[in-house]
Symmetry: C2
Subunit: 681 residues, 2 copies
């Protein structure tokens, strides 16, 4: 039944607005315009439609709310405070201050914030991931009479999000996937930082979204037409085969003297403007951070409604648990982000007698094994399935059932050529809960998704990139496809695991750590070309991130390497011994991030004092002086030719490494060499 709106609603809306105005003014920094323009729809949605329990922000079946135009976060913080989340008036007063719960853009650490947003286009793309997660888990676990997982995902986004390519990718896929429980609001306020959107953004957004297969409902007075907003939300909830965009034409900073201009976008309202606004809406201009009792009373009812909704759901879920105990405990386990006991026994191990295999293929073998014991693993590829080898045999595709190409319980997603969209969607799926997503592309094109990868690391999303064709070893496709700088960029990113396994055991170790690192995303850098199974590798050793594959602490040199170059170093060590009588050890360092979490004692045992070390990796050697005294890498882009020819052209073979090892030994002869990991602080 449609709500009847009254003066009380107006007051509530103006409470949201004045909290945002006061917080931005106190911080003397922030964005008041969008919260003022969006307060009406936020009020309608939160007070009348959204299912949530502020006393339990982790309730599994809550509706999700994502603010994609994250700079408008004072809107969200105001709502969280007013609806009883653990955000106090003091927290609002600490807006944008060090270590506050109310930073300059929404961060998922704050209770009630589903996902960190701010970089434009990410939030709405995350929302697509949330909606996929809901559709998938619903299709997997719901039973007749038990609609356990059926929440809606709500998202507000602005012109900026709509201009970003990542949103285009994700929204096109959302249309294809017919995500009926995704309901978004487009803040069509015609203002961006450069002023009127007429200077750069004159496309027909409704038509574009319809082209993607979306339902678009236009509320032409997004400032006042509360009934129109309510009707739009009700229609959107009913339509089950399309994502919905409710286009709200709003005036930014509605009520400010500067409303409708860029002047109200990114800086505090002036004192006289605040005064006139508060007077106009019946608030005391002398008071700041005021919450009228009628707002508190109104929202108290909503808080109760949410608590009741959760209670009813808990009862239903308990009943479900009696009928479907296995599914019940699996849902609980997945949302607790716990792994099934003993899952890691499914990881394959290898001996040197086993065949040489490309690490992309080794990855496929792991996925084929572990998908059976890890139902939370949901894979996909950005249109490179046959190259990334990301799809286990007989996987069901995640597709709308009407397409007859799969169904929503399917665990394999066809992302299309949309790397950035895939990254943001994976982040969203993981943030929803119950899912560990992995996605494939060429390592070189992980860069296309840099915006999403960075947010993944910042937020600690548990996602895995299966990044194949990881070097000049991909051969003929040439320098446009051969990563050189990519791994340096990834290694420089905080809280990101970057695995470059050298063989089968190391590939299993990479997955072991990627799956058990709950709060760290992982990128697996995998070869197109075959790699031999190494003597001395093991899951246990590689799981430390680095180890001595061939120990020679009293030898002449250590070769430090990763991935496909480790076997080359082993061959070089053999050559050096045979031809020159030189003793070389080999250190394999498949993941720096994991290695740096080991004890100093362990790390020193891997990188001892007194022996020169040469790093060998077919990438930019940028960063390698942290783990070696001398570096062998590439300082240029690659070349198009068959794999072995490219490697030989750049002397990445046993002879080339041996030659450089000798030069390094000669250079350090007679000098006392300290371990490269020794530090003053």
């Amino acid at each position: 039944m449609a709500p009847q709106f009254s003066k009380t609603d107006e007051t509530a809306i103006n409470t949201i607005r004045t909290l945002a105005i006061d917080a931005v003014a106190k911080a003397n920094s922030g964005h008041p315009g969008a919260p003022m323009g969006l307060a009406p729809v936020a009020h309608v949605l939160w007070n009348y439609y959204m299912n949530f329990t502020s006393s339990n922000p982790e309730w599994i079946n809550r509706d999700r709310f994502i603010l994609s135009n994250g700079h408008a976060c004072m809107l969200h913080y105001s709502l969280l405070h007013l609806f009883g989340y653990d955000i106090t008036i003091d927290d609002l007063k600490n807006f944008r201050q060090l270590n506050s719960k109310t930073p300059g853009h929404p961060e998922a650490e704050t209770p009630g914030i589903e996902v960190t947003t701010g970089p434009l286009g990410q939030g709405v793309s995350n929302a697509v991931g949330f909606a996929i997660a809901q559709a998938h888990l619903g299709a997997t676990y719901n039973k007749p009479g038990y609609d356990i997982i059926n929440n809606y995902t709500y998202c507000i986004f602005g012109d900026g999000c709509m201009m970003e390519g990542v949103a285009s990718e994700a929204m096109s896929l959302a249309g294809h996937l017919q995500l009926g429980n995704l309901i978004t609001f487009y803040d069509d306020n015609h203002i961006s930082i450069d002023g009127d959107t007429n200077v750069a953004f004159t496309e027909d957004v409704s038509q574009r979204l319809e082209a993607y297969g979306w339902e678009v409902i236009w509320v032409k007075d997004g400032n006042n037409d509360l009934a129109g907003m309510a009707a739009a939300i009700e229609q959107a909830k009913k339509s089950k085969d399309k994502p919905t965009c409710i286009r709200l034409t709003t005036i930014i900073g509605y009520g400010s003297l500067q409303q409708g201009t860029h002047g109200v976008h990114g800086s505090p309202l002036k004192p006289d403007d605040i005064k006139q606004f508060k007077e106009k809406v019946g608030f005391n201009p002398e008071e700041t951070f005021a919450v009228p009792k009628e707002t508190t009373d109104l929202y108290a009812k909503t808080i109760d409604r949410g608590a009741n909704a959760e209670k009813e759901w808990n009862e239903l879920f308990a009943k479900y648990g009696k009928e479907y105990p296995k599914e019940h405990s699996e849902i609980i386990r997945r949302f607790k982000r716990e792994l099934p006991e003993g899952w890691e026994k499914a990881l394959p191990t290898y001996t040197p007698a086993d065949n040489a295999v490309a690490s992309r293929k080794l990855s496929e073998i792991v996925l084929t094994k572990i998908h059976e014991v890890l139902p939370e693993l949901v894979g996909g590829s950005a249109d490179l399935t046959g190259s990334n080898l990301t799809r286990w045999k007989d996987a069901v595709d995640f597709q709308p059932p009407v397409t007859h190409l799969g169904d929503y319980s399917g665990r394999y997603i066809r992302y299309g050529v949309r790397e950035h969209g895939m990254g943001a969607i994976m982040n969203g799926m993981n943030a929803y809960g119950g899912i560990i997503p992995y996605g494939g592309t060429f390592l070189n094109f992980v860069s296309y998704a840099a915006g999403a990868v960075r947010l993944s690391a910042l937020s600690g999303h548990h996602v895995i990139w299966v990044a194949t064709h990881d070097s000049i070893g991909l051969g003929e496709d040439g320098p446009t496809h051969q990563p050189i700088e990519t791994v340096a960029w990834l290694r420089a990113t905080p809280n990101l695991s970057v695995w470059r396994p050298a063989d089968g055991n190391e590939t299993s170790a990479a997955y072991y750590k990627a799956i058990t690192n709950y709060h760290t995303p992982s990128v697996l850098s995998l070869t197109r070309q075959n790699l031999p199974q190494l003597e001395g590798s093991s899951i246990e050793k590689a799981s430390k991130g680095g180890y001595q594959l061939i120990s020679e602490d009293k030898g002449d040199i250590y070769l430090v390497s990763t991935g496909s170059e480790v076997a080359i170093c082993v061959a070089a060590a053999k050559l050096l011994k045979e031809k020159k009588g030189i003793t070389a050890g080999v250190i394999s360092l498949p993941d720096w991030f994991t290695f740096e979490q080991q004890s100093l004692e362990y790390r020193k045992s891997v990188f001892p004092d007194g022996i020169p070390m040469l790093s060998v990796e077919v990438y930019s050697d940028f960063g390698w002086s942290r783990y070696s005294h001398q570096q062998f890498g590439l300082d240029r882009f690659g070349a198009s030719a068959p794999f072995q020819q490219v490697y030989d052209a750049f002397e990445f073979n046993a002879e080339g490494v041996a030659k450089r090892a000798e030069a390094t030994i000669n250079y350090y002869k007679g000098q006392t060499v300290k371990s490269p990991i020794q530090r003053a602080f």
Copy 2:
């Protein structure tokens, strides 16, 4: 007049197809399907419509042709050979071999290739840049009776390009800008690597492009309807206020036994398939790389037509030169990529008596000065003009005149929130010739454009990124906006200049080098916060990429730093002297790329032996062990708070640096310290 098509056209089309088939088969690697499907439209376009001179691929007013689905490059190589460019049959036989002119994706080094493509979505976005350049230079230099610059930009793209966000960004802007001379062909073949596009890509592409403001013409039989293609091109050439997409529904690998399937996309045709194809189209199945005489004869006429077109244009241009000598010589100068004599005198210089100024503001001062002497400088921002300070006062916006917001002679582009699109468009503008583009965004969001930045470096595009708000110093916007890993990524990229100027003189040096490096893109990392003018800085010294700001070769330590941290190091040196009697020198290293081009002797003079060095930079310290013995950086993401509080929280102040300098000195006490730049090879 519309061409009449005959058997000769069929033969020519099949010549293109068989060359592609034979080259891929010989290389045993490559993509035959798209060339086979696209041969008809390529033939119609090149033989009947496109203006080009194969004997002079650099003719200023040639029509440009860009293959955005670069994996189809054998189509392009075949055309180049057949139409008389410097590509021989032997070059085609060397397809995808080391150092050939015919690498696995088109590279601009090959005569007739306008721009390196392959990573999907880039080429069509480059094409938007080409069309902007043409519109801008035409509006700037054309005179009544002298349509000197009026070429068309043609571009073929595929489903993959259309799925990529970068294309979405660029194409939306192209619609806004009403680029009438941009004519693209969408290879609507319903196949991508994962198979039928139905699995991921079911949007209505025509409707989407129309929403962007494009004209869409659909040729439903892209395999055979040559007259339809011709008519579409003619209509597209006439429409002057919209970019055009000619949607060609084609069958991939048309004529192969596997036509219409993914099987013909990325691997050679089987021998029996080649045989049946050649027989079917009347070619000798025993022959490879055959070019029938009737094809040679047909295309010879076109080659002549092109030569004549250039000749006529040369005459017109010579006449123009008499009437408009200044413009004439300016056009020649700009297309020769030469700078006007003495332009660098416009660069401002500073003394320590001058005010502290944010380097984004210093950048604005430079742009305000040099835009007057460098008409080739065409700027813009991805919707952050007021923050990036990229627009000189009274700049005219590049806009369709009907908008009354500017005109096509305008030199300031409003890119909208489209960083990746901006990057690819800048690459295209520079590749067109006559333009040095610069574009602004926050440093953190240069990552959104990583795909374009990489191609810029690989291709040596002369473009400049004005990347402001370059560290945690941006303050309140918080960790989602504060770059940590970004500069490491950029520094690890070959052929990329990454400037982090410390004051006014260094900012001028950064621009001096960015403008004079014709074949290297530059990223300028600039502050939001104020920086003092340093004692000892100069344009000359900074132009070497690194220098001793405070020389103390006999001192206790060197502090090595960049940008906003240099002044902090100077303060720390003062503090160390006053409080501890410690002598510290300071090395400023604003651009590693430029520094690494200096002589070894010079570099050793900057980084002498015998003194420990501590690097200080508020980024990930990844890579800094190349230039220091000990590093002070960040190993985590930033925080939302006012600037000085964030710096203090991470101890990036004089006290924090001094403390770490002392620790470093103590650690190295009694040891012989070598310069960090010393190398074994």
